[in-house]
């Protein structure tokens, strides 16, 4: 017999309405009925504190607080009713550094966008079947990471520094740039059948 998923209560926090709808549709189709959504981390955390959720999906990049900050709040805030809740972070950024960064903030699983139904289900099965123990240290509380730490980028913030110096103007194109633009147009024409 397969899981009985209808008793689960799930919270989806994403500022993209399409992704919220997509996740809700998939989860509903597999039998989950109690699905709440929030469009930012602040209202999401507010919802989280009011009801008992079994699982949280959150986007990575949101304003005014990011998915990472939200994970922090769920894990460490005194208001949090369930610091052990599994958190699945959804993101277009799937490079190792960001995944590790998410784990460092207490995220349970990472779901890279675009995702398929199969992959989403495998994350769901993973949090059900392979829950990791939690670790509490002076600086961390969350699922056991047991992953190698990566070096973080410590270079200058190029664009910010540049903004202060550069006047905005549309610059002239070089021969190579014009050629690249022309080539992309030709390939668009091919796919458009023009």
């Amino acid at each position: 017999m397969s899981y009985q998923l209808e008793g689960l209560r799930i919270l989806i926090i994403d500022d993209n309405a399409h992704i919220r709808q997509l996740l809700r549709t998939i989860l509903y189709a597999v039998g989950i009925r109690a699905i709440d959504v929030a469009e930012d981390g602040v209202s999401g955390f507010d919802s989280f504190c009011r009801l008992e959720y079994d699982l949280v999906f959150t986007d990575y990049e949101m304003e005014p607080i990011s998915g990472l900050d939200l994970a922090d709040m769920i894990r460490t805030s005194r208001k949090s009713p369930n610091p052990y809740v599994p958190i699945i972070m959804i993101s277009s950024y799937s490079d190792e550094e960001r995944v590790q960064g998410a784990r460092d903030r207490g995220v349970t699983e990472f779901l890279a966008k675009p995702f398929t139904v199969d992959v989403l289900m495998s994350r769901l099965e993973s949090v059900i079947e392979e829950p990791r123990p939690f670790v509490r240290t002076e600086s961390y509380f969350g699922p056991d990471r047991r992953r190698k730490q990566d070096k973080r980028y410590t270079g200058p913030e190029r664009r910010k520094a540049d903004l202060e110096q550069v006047k905005v103007s549309v610059r002239d194109l070089s021969e190579q740039q014009r050629s690249a633009l022309k080539e992309s147009r030709e390939n668009v024409a091919k796919i458009a059948g023009d």
Binding site: I19, S92, D144, V168, V188
Partner: protein
């Protein structure tokens, strides 16, 4: 709850009860019903048309941004932020609906917005090139990677980004 410690500083290892498993797997049940997964995939297929409509809206926005930039280059920062967001959102959705090329083109747009050294370098023609590419994909309902033509399209956009924001 179990507790452990290491020589280089104490830490606590906690094994909370598996409430999820207890809730969904009563009586040894395991795995998600394959029939339900199939049903979910079927629903996603039917959402593909809605997705194509939403891409069309984003293409219009992107073209408008290109025009705004041309009309008033001082809007470059706002235009870049919005174009980056369009790239970010669409790259995360296209392949879910079978439109892998939309994800690829949107990734290229996102990369362009991320790699620009200054707002002054933001070029409306690059925004249009990405909008045109997405429009062609949606108009012709090109699913998957689009074969050789699709691969060439993505390569040329990558090369364009390399040239314009390398």
């Amino acid at each position: 709850m179990a507790e452990k410690s290491q020589g280089n500083g104490a830490y606590q290892l906690i094994t909370p009860p598996n409430l999820l498993k207890a809730k969904v797997g009563k009586g040894g049940m395991s795995g998600i019903d394959p029939e339900l997964i199939k049903r979910a995939e079927g629903v996603i297929d039917t959402m593909g048309d809605d997705f194509a409509d939403s891409v069309t809206i984003e293409i219009t926005r992107l073209m408008q941004l290109a025009m705004d930039l041309e009309d008033d280059p001082s809007k470059a920062e706002k235009v870049l932020k919005k174009a980056r967001r369009i790239g970010h959102d669409l790259r995360g959705q296209g392949a879910t609906y079978g439109y892998d090329l939309i994800s690829d083109v949107a990734s290229s747009l996102y990369r362009y917005a991320e790699r620009l050294y200054s707002f002054a370098e933001l070029n409306p023609d690059v925004l249009r090139a990405h909008a045109d590419a997405m429009r062609a994909v949606i108009k012709n309902q090109v699913k998957g990677d689009g074969g050789e033509v699709g691969i060439d399209l993505v390569k040329s956009l990558d090369s364009l980004v390399e040239q314009m924001a390398g």
